[in-house]
Amino acid sequence: MQTQETPHKAAAPVTQKAGRVAALTPIRELPHDQIVACASFRDAVRLGWKHRADRSMTKKELAAAVGIHPPHMSIMLHRDDLDRHGKPRQDLPHRYIDDFERVVGNHAIYQWLEHKGRLLIVEELLRIQETP
């Protein structure tokens, strides 16, 4: 059964819990093969969530700890980029990355961005050289 709570009332206790978990858990790196298997930023965010340090943490608790409206967090963690109308789903805004990683306890997003940066620079180099 679902209970109706205001976001403000619901946020305080779960934020404290997630904050304790984050404070006690060192942020770890994930295996390289899992990072390069992510085809998109969304995949990297989902990988980070999948490997969260506190397996009992809910999306609602994550949302409260990071400071994102819970329904938006669910959208950001959805598997598909597009909704049923073909409209792009919102991704985790870049300004929340550090908080997200601190709460889930891993660097999946950081590692994927490093991989993406390498890929972009290599592709740029090869493209420039192919141009007559």
Partner: protein, 62 residues
């Protein structure tokens, strides 16, 4: 590290890698992964390049 510095470090690392292993994309990526493991500033530069891409991508999208 500024955005410009990050891009400069990343591009220089890619050019150095190309001199070492040639111009095949996968060989270049593997060499740059090694460089990133050995040199924190190179790893940070690539991360910054990725962040810049994401920022630009999200600003265009929304």
């Amino acid at each position: 590290m500024t955005d410009d510095e990050a891009l400069r470090i990343g591009r220089e690392a890619a050019e150095d890698a190309q001199k070492k292993v040639g111009g095949k994309k996968n060989d270049l990526l593997k060499e740059l992964e090694k460089q990133s493991e050995q040199h924190t500033d190179v790893a940070k530069a690539f991360n910054e390049a990725g962040r810049l891409w994401l920022q630009s991508h999200q600003e265009t999208k929304h």
